[in-house]
């Protein structure tokens, strides 16, 4: 910070303090000033119903939803890549090996030294997620090893995201935030890239992946 900026810092803080001269010193602290009478989640649902709601809301915003069990996952992923005609797939470093066991599409590892332009030539990407929100149809990535860097789920035009149900599914936004570490970069994804910029009507498909496929994999029966 230059000395000019340092003086701006003092100037702004001074202005703020003068502006707030009317605020009593003994005013209620944050915990008491903010009443949280809103709900932690909307409605009461069984675990299965919450997963069902996630599937519905994902589909409502044009994500393509697939469901399978852990054993069926490799063939589902292989099928999606084949249908897409993908020649290459970006792979986060910590993705479970088994998930890609049934496909021979060229793997492109997520490496820091690769340029965005190189990533632009990759057709698809497969990742896990950190948490999924049923009420809003949202999947959240937090850059964990099975999700990779933010750019790999952005530049390729086709994203396959695996959600372990029911353990990764929460009902609501408040519950999702509780599970996330704010110090990790997070990306909340609700459907494919879209815009409302033409006549305030939603159109899918701008800069982010234009196809989002979400595989809800039932992990209850498996070892994990």
């Amino acid at each position: 910070m230059s000395s000019r900026e340092r003086s701006s810092r003092e100037r702004i803080l001074g202005r703020v303090r003068r502006a707030l001269a009317d605020v009593p010193r003994e005013e209620a602290p944050y915990e008491r000033a903010v009443e949280r009478d809103y709900l932690r989640e909307h409605g009461t649902r069984t675990v299965a119903e919450t997963v069902e709601l996630l599937a519905e809301n994902l589909a409502d915003y044009r994500a393509v939803v697939h469901r399978c069990d852990e054993d069926g996952l490799p063939s589902v992923i292989a099928g999606l890549l084949r249908e897409r005609g993908a020649a290459s797939v970006a792979v986060p470093p910590g993705l479970e090996e088994a998930w890609l066991a049934d496909t021979d599409v060229t793997r492109v590892p997520d490496r820091a030294e690769d340029t965005a332009a190189a990533l632009d030539r990759v057709d698809s990407v497969v990742t896990a997620c950190a948490v999924a929100v049923a009420e809003t149809g949202t999947i959240v990535l937090d850059g964990s090893p099975d999700q990779g860097r933010r750019r790999i789920t952005l530049v390729p035009d086709h994203h396959i995201c695996v959600v372990r149900v029911p353990e990764q599914v929460v009902a609501s936004v408040p519950q999702a935030l509780e599970r996330l570490d704010p110090l990790r970069p997070s990306t909340w994804i609700s459907g494919p890239s879209a815009t409302s910029d033409i006549e305030l009507d939603r159109v899918e498909g701008v800069h982010g992946p234009r196809t989002l496929e979400v595989v809800l994999v039932d992990g209850a029966a498996a070892s994990r």
Partner: protein, 493 residues
Amino acid sequence: MSGTFVGMPAFPEAAREAVRDTTLRGNLRHATHTIRAKRAKAVAEVEDWAELREAGKRIKDHTLRHLDRYLEQVEAAVTAAGGVVHWAADAEEANRIVTDLVKATGESEVVKVKSMATQEIGLNEALEAAGVRAYETDLAELIVQLGKDRPSHILVPAIHRNRGEIREIFTREMSEWGRPAPEGLTDTPAELAEAARLHLREKFLRAKVGVSGANFVVAETGTLVVVESEGNGRMCLTLPETLISVVGIEKIVPTWRDLEVFLQTLPRSSTAERMNPYTSTWTGTTDGDGPRVFHLVLLDNGRTDTLADEVGRQALRCIRCSACLNVCPVYERAGGHAYGSVYPGPIGAILSPQLRGTDSEIDASLPYASSLCGACYEVCPVAIDIPEVLVHLRERVVQGGPATRAGNRVVLRPAKGHAAERAAMRAAQWAFTRPGVLRAGQRMASRTRRFHPRTLPGPGRAWSAGRDLPRVPAEPFRDWWQRTRGGKDGAAE
């Protein structure tokens, strides 16, 4: 049309032009009515909307009332997370900071995420003057930039353009800025979006510097949040090596948990979605993922002056959702340009005269750009009582009084041009505190009613230009009451 707002005429004159532009009226009507119905549906889905709204209001109020503490907390947390914090007292200082930071990277172009704060300070123009080209990457901003136009809406700056006009702008202008529009581009929204995707992709892939704003800054963690739809935000926030975020000091919320309120209310209020397609959060820099260098520029530019006004400070709660624009009958007819600011509509009418002061003709006219119908207050997700602030600012315009400008306490003089009105208001007050005087006036009006013209001269012409005057009755009610003892002597008379 020029790209700036300097020398704007007062609102009524600017609005007159817009009202007569039938294409504009049609475009705005179509867009605002589409989103109105959708917003109402998205809000009705959550039964605790009123509680979320109240919590959002309280979080913002609390933060504003202790803003000095939270600003220091933001600075400490962002610095600890590897970011560099800068403080800008006004637009000029913010522009200088950003320009210097860009120059220091050796780059001559930046990619930008849609940001109200950078529009407010005129950053693109400042960068251009320094030889740096700023590419707007939000679809609507791109339409505005390519069309050498001005934004007319907070969320959808090109709301005044319909698909046909957008097609024309893309076809004509894209080649000037980079990849031309595809041959045979039609006006279907999907094709227009595809054209923008192709045009901007090369810019994203080569960009070394990104510039953004932020929807929220979390004080306890130093986390910034950008809420968007298209993915252009993610491109700008993650692909460049250097990220510069210019953020108004009112964007702070105390805790990570507070996002649980706004991530529910913002998308439903703005694009009428349960959740917008993309939300990015980041805290300083992350090894190997995203920009290696992160600068946060904290912007005052009139915000502390606004904060000093006990009635007006609630405008700083605004989360820029634009629900108030979409529901406003005046905005729908006057369009965004008439407000002479990057902040149009009801929120602009209370924000611009506070951020910039009421000296200019346009700023002094903005508090009157409302019928006080209250639809804006009703939809506001942080319960800003816009009509209350409008009336408060009208008072400032006509009566003057204490205010804060650039951190200094000043006493404003009443604005010029209200002398006749002030005299009339005082005369009416005098008469209205003397029932006998009022009665004499009423009788005079009734007795002379045969001679009343059907149209009025002077300021009254504004009434009778489009509406007939009511006929003055033969006697005022109070005379009837007295004559008939409240109707007891012949009720039907």
